[in-house]
């Protein structure tokens, strides 16, 4: 059993946990020569450059959800699975997950990722299914756990409407962004305020109605930033089955998987660069359909 942040609600703990060095607040004139960065992006970024031939190999994708069914034919092997629960004191702990998926939703998301990025390493962090009352703290602890593990992509096909969690989620999302973890979050399908998809440090995803899993659009009118396939999608479900499902929940893992493709072909891109690449390769911006 691993103690994952007994004090998950306190934002200041982030600094202790990540042991961040003090940020460079300024740049002396003499130091400018020492911080040269090779531009990883070519003059013209297109889909072929971005993800052509990529399989997601070597990229760690975390499904933060209801768990993932072990051995589902459309998901295959998991690289790891933990379940976040609350202990007797109400503190969150992460334990190896032995139950798999309690609903089907996490399996569906994992299957979408596997179909697009077949060689990605898929990890499951279960934050739903252990009762509603602890779901907020468990979600926060699960995200904190996922970010601390250094996954390249974290798929969050869920959100919370609780404002009390918004601030901590914001900090976690920013931490992920600066640590190089791309948080991909499902936009809400309803006219409500919810988090973390509204934060600019995450990739937020809504649905389009077309069938192509590699077709995505950039939204000129955020906060939803990208649209991907999310209507009548055949997805993996518990019991080794498949069902047909609709919702931004299923568009989100499309973008997670596409991000994995980009990162497997171009390791080391930062979330800022990944977002730029997705934007430049969107079908309505300059990508080829």
């Amino acid at each position: 059993m691993i103690d994952v942040l007994a004090h998950s609600a306190a934002p200041e703990d982030d600094e202790e946990e990540y042991e961040e060095e003090l940020p460079a607040w300024s740049l002396p004139k003499t130091a400018a020569d020492r911080i040269g960065i090779d531009n990883p992006l070519p003059e013209r970024v297109d889909k072929k450059w971005a993800l052509g031939g990529a399989t997601g190999k070597g990229v760690k994708v975390c499904i933060l959800d209801s768990g993932v069914e072990f051995g589902h034919p459309l998901v295959g092997e998991l690289a790891g699975a933990v379940a976040i629960t609350l202990d007797e004191e109400g503190d969150p702990v992460a334990e190896e997950d032995t139950e798999g998926d309690l609903c089907g939703h996490g399996t569906a998301c994992a299957g979408v990722v596997r179909a697009i990025a077949p060689e990605a390493e898929i990890y499951s962090v279960r934050v739903l299914g252990a009762g509603f009352s602890g779901s907020g703290p468990v979600l926060l602890a699960g995200l904190r756990w996922a970010v601390s593990q250094g996954y390249d992509v974290v798929n969050m096909s869920l959100s919370t409407t609780k404002r009390q969690f918004g601030e901590v989620l914001h900090e976690l999302a920013d931490n992920a962004y600066f640590r190089g973890t791309m948080l991909v979050a499902s936009a809400h399908n309803m006219p409500v305020e919810s988090y973390p998809w509204r934060f600019s440090s995450v990739l937020s995803v809504g649905s389009h109605e077309e069938d192509d899993p590699l077709l995505y659009y950039a939204n000129p009118d955020p906060p939803v930033e990208f649209f991907a396939r999310g209507v009548d999608v055949e997805v993996a479900w518990i019991g080794g089955e498949t069902i047909t499902a609709t919702g931004n929940s299923f568009a989100t893992p499309c973008i997670s998987a596409i991000t994995a493709l980009v990162l497997s072909k171009h390791p080391g891109l930062t979330p800022f660069q990944v977002k730029t690449v997705l934007y430049l390769t969107s079908a309505n911006v300059g990508g080829s359909r």
Partner: protein
Amino acid sequence: MTDGAGRFESAVAAGVLASEEQFARLLRSIVEVARAIFGAKASSVFLFDAEADELVFAAVAGDEEQHLVGRRMPSSTGIAGWVLSSRTPLVLDDVQKDPRHARDVAESTGYVPKGMMAVPLLDEEEVLGVLQVLDRPQRSRFSLQEMELLGLFASQAAIALSLLGSARRARKALEGAGDAAVVAKLAAAVESLEGDKRESAATLISDLARVLRS
């Protein structure tokens, strides 16, 4: 009891503040409208009981499932539990293929839907429950317009439930033995007076309020 007192008490008990009967009528209306909007075979609503951490089967529009009203299940059970916890709507077809879902539903209803739309009832940051619409006709592909309609209707239903829920809680407080109940009884007594007596009582209460504030 004078007419005045009767008026006040009935206002407190059943008029201004919602009665259980009104609450049940609203729930039935929500599921019936949801079923009609989508031309679905059935619709049901689960309310979240935070104290027990359970979902309560609160109303159903359909043929044979009325006996289920009042049934409870853990808040994390199945698709409704996921929708509640994740606060995210979900539209699924071929749900019979989900063995756990099919078993749970079949044991309790004898009816397993083919398709299901499930949407959280969200009143701002609070989630009040889950609305389900079962077996809408499979005319064509599901559209995002339908999803939007589902979300909009669920939001309206949640606002109505929230308003009625507040009134329901207020009525319970007034009927109980707490401070609110004492004040309600005092108000009812003043309401029952006439003429000078009523004026004197009002003056007395105003003076009392002034003393309490000072």
